[in-house]
Amino acid sequence: MTPQFLETVTTRANAQIDPSLHVWGFEITIYLFLGGIVAGIFILAAALELVSGARPLSRFLRPVPFAALALLSVGMLALWLDLEHRLWAWRFYAVFRPTSPMSWGAWILWLVYPVGLAWGLGSLGSEERGVLRRWVPGVLRSAFEGILAFADKRRRSILVAAVLVGTSLGLYTGLLLGTMPSRLAWNSAVLGPLFLASGVSTGAATLLLLRLDDAERKTLVRWDAIAIGVELVLIVLLFLGWATSGEAGRFAAHSFLGGPYTAVFWSLVVVMGLLVPLAMEFLESRRHLRFVVIVPVLILAGGLALRWILLAAGQASSFRLLP
């Protein structure tokens, strides 16, 4: 099958239909970025409680599940804005197509909400519950109490579910790109894990912006450092995969190794978003330096740049450009 034909059948990208596939703009970047953060928050905040076995120590960590859902809603709003037929978005939920990554994604997104709500309600202290009780209308009072009782009783299962749902969400943001073989720079199975690792790291960075308890902060910084390390390894694997996958892969790799995305990728993502924050986290634990806000800010900027650059590079790399 010639490259041109492959493009025509898989992405409609030929001169007669779509001259180029520059159709995913900032909306998708925002969605992938926020989706990654939410995935990271779900995994980390739930894991923190699973590991320590105690409710969140700091006041700021308790409403985090709700904040995560709000962030995800902003992301989904961006996703919805990107749709061509916005009024038909509900049709995603009329079917489930096991072969379509977008269908999986649509359903995973809905799964996040009930899990997040149950987890968040269970995290609330008695004082906050009292406030909520006053706001709930009488008809729903018993249902509300039932949910609270369920959230308390099944706390552990809900936390495990939050970790699982977060993992699927994080993986999905990468797989969405990874399953499109006609975009050379996305054609890699590493993209899923890479976006998951980046999501965990940006999620940790978001949590670190809150005023946390010292012990929680220490754990999060350690986990964040691990996530950044994994991310660096996955970036190496991404390039190894490209280098060993024939002409198309080498072409994709070239745009990051000498091509137009070289400087932004290595400078903004690897140096600014990964190496410098990692070095600072290392210094923090080694030399007992104060925690500074610039570490999470750099990580968040790097995570946004990673998604932005991969999205743009993927859309710019096509079989038709192969020499």
Binding site: L257, Y261, T262, A263, S267
Partner: protein, 393 residues
């Protein structure tokens, strides 16, 4: 002549930008460690209580200058490829005075301001904001300023060339001058710091001896290198070669990194359309001289609008192979940028040629290669399966 690396085309523009980030990280780190993230350390220079700015800046200039003189002396560095800021005497004099005034008023210069922002100094944020406003003011007021901005133009003036002495001699003089300035500066510190109730900055003799003698040794080595036999570039008369548009087009696809393409037409004409990757140098001898200074690691091809009988004299000093594009840009347009016409009953050779031309046409114009008339192609009876390459595991 291995260095500098970048002009030899070892890595592209974008990898160069990445080098910029890494060089910047080192630059920023050293500036911070030198104490330049603090306005008071910088301002002390102008009240003579702590001449840190002078010491750091001159040590850096001396190090880089003697280093370059030495490396050029032993033939590792090609000084002709080092970019030297052009001299515009009057704007640089006035700009310097104004910048000095701005420096002491704001407490930072642009580079140290960035480092100060990085270390959390909010006054530096204000200073950088001011610098942005100031550069915008210059840009929007550029009209009436233009003639002054371009006054006193002397081109690239290197002090060693001006004096007509080898660079290592000037470098040695700079070392002597700098050491004198350092010793004099420390005397000033000893006078002025106590007057303002501050401690005289510590300056251990051991460090001074090591640094100054290091400067002296490298400068001496650079002077000794003058005795080395000079490598004269062989300026043998080279017969220039001629290359057809199609042949060049093919080779530019196959190995774009092996060519310097130089456009000798006026800039306004070249703006409208030129060969991909062509460097526009202007039609005069000055442009030709610029072309001759390109690194000889690539072949040079020059072209004008129509055929060039012979390359301009200046170009001939180019050290590598020189080619002239046969027929100039007109030929390129006719042979590469125009869709090839198919023969009625092509021979195998004609058909192969047509295919190449069609592919080149598609490559350089972006037109889909399948849209051309396909008649010329003698179709095989059955689609031959492509031989599968490699892959056994």
């Amino acid at each position: 002549m291995t260095f500098p690396l970048y002009p030899h085309g070892l890595f592209g523009t974008y990898a160069g930008l990445l080098v910029g980030t890494l060089v910047g990280v080192a630059f920023g780190f050293v500036l911070e460690r030198a104490g330049f993230g603090r306005a008071r350390n910088l301002a002390a220079q102008f009240y003579l209580t702590d001449l840190r700015v002078l010491k750091v800046m001159f040590s850096a200039i001396v190090t880089a200058c003697v280093g370059m003189a030495f490396l050029a002396g032993i033939g590792v560095l090609d000084l002709a490829l080092i970019t030297v800021p052009e001299t515009f005497l009057w704007p640089q004099l006035v700009g310097g005075l104004l910048l000095g005034a701005g420096f002491i008023v704001s407490g930072y210069c642009p580079g140290t301001g960035v480092v100060a922002v990085a270390s959390g100094n909010l006054d530096a944020v204000a200073a950088i904001g001011g610098i942005m406003a100031g550069s915008l003011a210059f840009g929007f007021g550029y009209g009436p300023l233009e003639s002054f901005y371009k006054s006193g133009a002397m081109g690239v003036v290197r002090i060693d060339r001006l004096l007509g002495v080898p660079i290592s001699v000037v470098a040695a003089a700079v070392v002597a001058m700098a050491v004198g300035a350092f010793l004099g500066g420390e005397k000033l510190e000893a006078i002025f710091a106590p007057r303002q109730g501050e401690l005289v900055p510590a300056s251990p003799a051991r460090v001074k001896v090591r640094v100054f003698s290091g400067f002296a040794v490298v400068a001496a080595l650079a002077l000794v290198a003058l005795a080395l036999p000079a490598r004269h570039a062989v300026l043998a008369a080279k017969p220039e070669q001629r290359i057809s548009a199609v042949a060049l087009a093919k080779d530019l696809v196959a190995s774009p990194q092996s060519w310097w393409v130089v456009d000798l037409r006026p800039e306004a004409v070249a703006e409208k359309g030129r060969l991909p990757g062509a460097i526009v140098v202007g039609p005069e001898e000055k442009g030709a001289a610029a072309a001759a200074n390109l690194a000889a690691t690539r072949k040079l091809v020059i072209y004008s609008q129509s055929d060039l009988a012979a390359p301009p004299e200046g170009v001939k000093r180019f050290a590598g192979e020189i080619y002239v594009l046969k027929g100039g840009y007109d030929a390129w347009k006719a042979e590469v940028l125009t869709a090839p016409r198919a023969e009625e009953n092509p021979t195998a050779a004609q058909s192969a040629d047509f295919k190449v031309r069609l592919a080149l046409y598609a490559r350089y114009t972006g037109a889909a290669s399948t849209t051309g008339p396909a008649r010329s192609e003698p179709r095989p009876a059955a689609p031959a399966a492509e031989p599968k390459k490699g892959g056994g595991c």
